[in-house]
Symmetry: D2
Subunit: 303 residues, 4 copies
């Protein structure tokens, strides 16, 4: 199969569509993004890439960053992490506080907001935010083989100014004894790693550590790779995870900036970016694009 021809065709099809979803508008830095952007990159384990569209434009990776912090936390804490956060789909919106109340401050999984805050809280312990942020950036740069990846300080500052809901989640978990740093400190660190900006090409390259196969960077154990992929499949798209699994059949993690990182185990990492979101808060065209890609390649993990 000619992967370059495939991504070119997908980009063409997506750019031709009229339906683009709704751009996130809770902070001005995201609200002002042109919804017409579309980029896609396939990265093979050995580093070869196939790109089309705006694959070289930086965007805010937002929740996709939760993959990298989870990988770091699993490396540091191992299975002890699961005492503080679960591994189940939540059946609730990504920033819901309901389940926390019913389940004593233990978030359902590391990809909903309270779960990601716990992960950041766990890797922060005893360190300064800037040390931890440096570690996260180095992990991503190493995975991507590219040192030019950085945080957009304006986005981070803007997130902090609209951070009441995350602060509520953090204080709520603190009240249940499941938070160890001051909520402002952990939330500040979290807002910063969500504000990392990357291109599709950088993101797809960085995702190869979850692909396995010849030439892929080995940053975590094969068992951890499998487990993170499983979590992405069941929980990676918030309350639209079941639908993504049904339609695409590949593990993926989306961000509210419109990016999605998708893993075809043993085969490739795929990144897509289009800022308009669907009803579940996942990139509308991005989801359609990887659905088309999965159909064309037969890369579904479900047969």
């Amino acid at each position: 199969m000619d992967l370059q021809q495939l991504v070119t065709q997908i980009a063409k099809d997506m750019i031709a569509r009229r339906d683009r979803g709704i751009v996130a508008d809770y902070i001005p830095e995201l609200a002002s993004i042109d919804p017409d952007h579309f980029g896609i990159t396939i990265a093979l384990p050995d580093g070869r890439i196939y790109s089309a569209g705006d694959s070289d434009t930086r965007f805010s990776i937002q929740s996709v960053s939760k993959l990298f912090t989870l990988a770091i936390a699993l490396g540091k804490l191992g299975d002890r992490l699961w005492q503080r956060v679960g591994r189940e789909p939540s059946g609730q919106p990504f920033n819901s506080i309901l389940q926390l109340e019913h389940e004593q401050g233990i978030p359902r999984n590391p990809f909903i907001n309270p779960g990601a805050l716990v992960v950041t809280d766990a890797i922060l312990q005893g360190h300064e935010p800037r040390e931890v942020l440096g570690e996260v950036l180095r992990f991503i740069q190493s995975a991507a083989g590219d040192g030019d990846i950085r945080i957009d300080e304006n986005v981070a500052r803007s997130e902090a100014m609209h951070g009441d809901r995350n602060l509520a989640l953090a204080h709520f978990m603190a009240a249940h004894g499941n938070f160890f740093n001051p909520p402002e400190k952990t939330c500040g660190t979290y807002f910063h790693h969500c504000a990392i900006e990357m291109t599709c090409e950088q993101l797809a390259r960085a995702g190869r550590f979850l692909v396995g196969g010849e030439g892929a960077p080995r940053l975590i154990s094969p068992a951890s790779v499998r487990r993170i992929n499983a979590l992405m499949l069941t929980c990676g798209h918030y309350d639209g995870s079941g639908d993504f699994a049904y339609r695409v059949g590949l593990p993926g993690k989306s961000g509210v900036g419109g990016g999605i990182l998708v893993i075809a185990p043993g085969r490739a990492a795929i990144s897509v970016w289009s800022p308009g979101l669907n009803a579940h808060g996942n990139s509308h065209l991005g989801t359609l694009a990887v659905e088309q890609l999965a159909r064309a390649t037969g890369w579904s993990i479900f047969g």
Copy 2:
């Protein structure tokens, strides 16, 4: 890999364990089952099987039957089915009525009880229960290549005597306009298909239609196979689906009788049976056994 040696070893390891979980006790027919049973079968697409333990003892397949009714309903209604039932993990126990109230009588997915009742209601329409039950049995017999599969009438009768919760779910959906047959009629049909009894060998053979590959029976389209596998992965073990995906990495569907059918796409169907359940209502030893099998074979779909 020597699959016969593998299942023999797994059976030996499981039988040696002291922890056996808790046998379901809401009906006497299930409560009286000896918790020491353990059976396992691997069936390859071409029909070869590898078995160990009580693989030839019949047990009540219970919710595993929901796989077969879903396959039939998708064949009959296609995507129209999804107007009546969702495709998302529920984040709630299998028989919860909470989400139904918040979501206007549309169950989250076809594997929680209200969703499975909708599926049965959908294939019942305009038919008599015994016709539909005949169709379900013939589908399973055809998939298994074995005509000796039947309903345990005592179990069905006992389920009906303890059926108030399912009747509540059915009336509740009827009140929301999402139920088309009299609740008693659909529930009666549902109790009967849950009361089908099969051996591990029969169940593994019957599961091959979800494996694909050379020699596997083709009862539904490849796209439907992928989609049912995706639903099994995200929703097949109720509120323990995320944990099963994390530990085993394969789609599966469990039943309260202690059976689990697991699919390794393109490779094999695996059935396990052990009556003791874990906290999520899934077979305790069965889950451990397929975890061991997945580790040994490297059949995880996640790399």
Copy 3:
């Protein structure tokens, strides 16, 4: 104070208003009622009455009947009743099934639907529906001093045809062991006592047993009178009970047919009827009328 002049003025004010609320439309018998009806009656303990408007037109008392079944159940079971139903406001719509799931099938109070079903189930035990319905009618007739009070069989039949939600509640409580008669039997009895039809004059007279004072019928103990009044104040208007207490300051019980029975302890029973409902399912003009009456008379129990 001239009470006749007061009710005449209130009726005139209410009839002049344009806002009438929305008539209940879940059964044709209620949907077809003219929303322009308005009736009001004040009954003093000694039986004197002051009426205005359509005070002599029969209407379906619906949930107001729950007052009479509660009085009968308290007489028969005493405090044992509270093992099966609570005494707290629910914070949920009247027919919600949510709280039942969280609280093991024990309804919050006897005025929400599941609570009233439990009350009916309790007085039904060991009897035939028609015996129990005879007892309820005799109780009301005796309280009103009027034998001409009966059930509208068309309404009862229509309720039964739209009874799925109540049947769901009943089966759900049965599943939790808090229901002792077959759900269809108790629900049938319940639909019939809700279908009792009375005029404002009959209803106000019948309410005097909750007023106390010289000349009022003594059908239950003074302690039970106080307790039922307390329950009416905290729970008598579903999820609008707090608002009714705030605005009117008197215990009352509303029905979806547009009737409200209000008690001014030691002073009078007041009935109003106007079919249009407000957002909480209580008579819109009826609520405004008793608010005006409470302000004019100073009968608020809150000072």
Copy 4:
């Protein structure tokens, strides 16, 4: 009736009981209180008082302070307050965040924690915490006719150190646009007014402004008096309000320090204090004491 003899008898009966409830233990200042304390005072509108037990010992009034801040807020904002907080019982524990999520950050009533935080936030606007606290203290001192009422700074500081749950509620409401001061500032003010300490005698005297009648201080309008009494009856004891209304039949407001202020409209204000709490978080002996008092005096508002 000899009120002095009555309170003496009640104190004697209460002190003789073995069951004392459980003292609140979330801060050391409350946890260390001797559970054997019991005090009671009846204050008539004209200022005469009848006391028994530890009626002259200061205790932390905690949530009873919400009565005074509500009175101040209603005086300042009038009905505009109800745009930010409801008037319905919550059906949930006092510090629940669930309903806030379902109802867009509008708390159910001013007596649950989020509602009281909104009230404090409303009177804080544009002022410094110490100005507002001075105003609250002057209001209470004026109502009690006693200048010797003050804040226990140790309690306030300790509350702040355990304040994560209230901070979570405040940030959550801020995220919904229903909070106008920085959460830390409003919560700090709230912790301070909850830390006011008073004796039973001071509290009963201070409560007379809600009694009405000859000689009672007139700090708010009669309409506001009635409304606050109505709110106390439906919501004053958290999720035990229905039970208190059923058993006692008088409006009351409890605090986690073991105090309750009860109003018999037109007759008297009653304060009780005993630190052991019942399952709903209200004083165990205090509730029993006012139940006995209501029975003996016939002061129930329900007949």
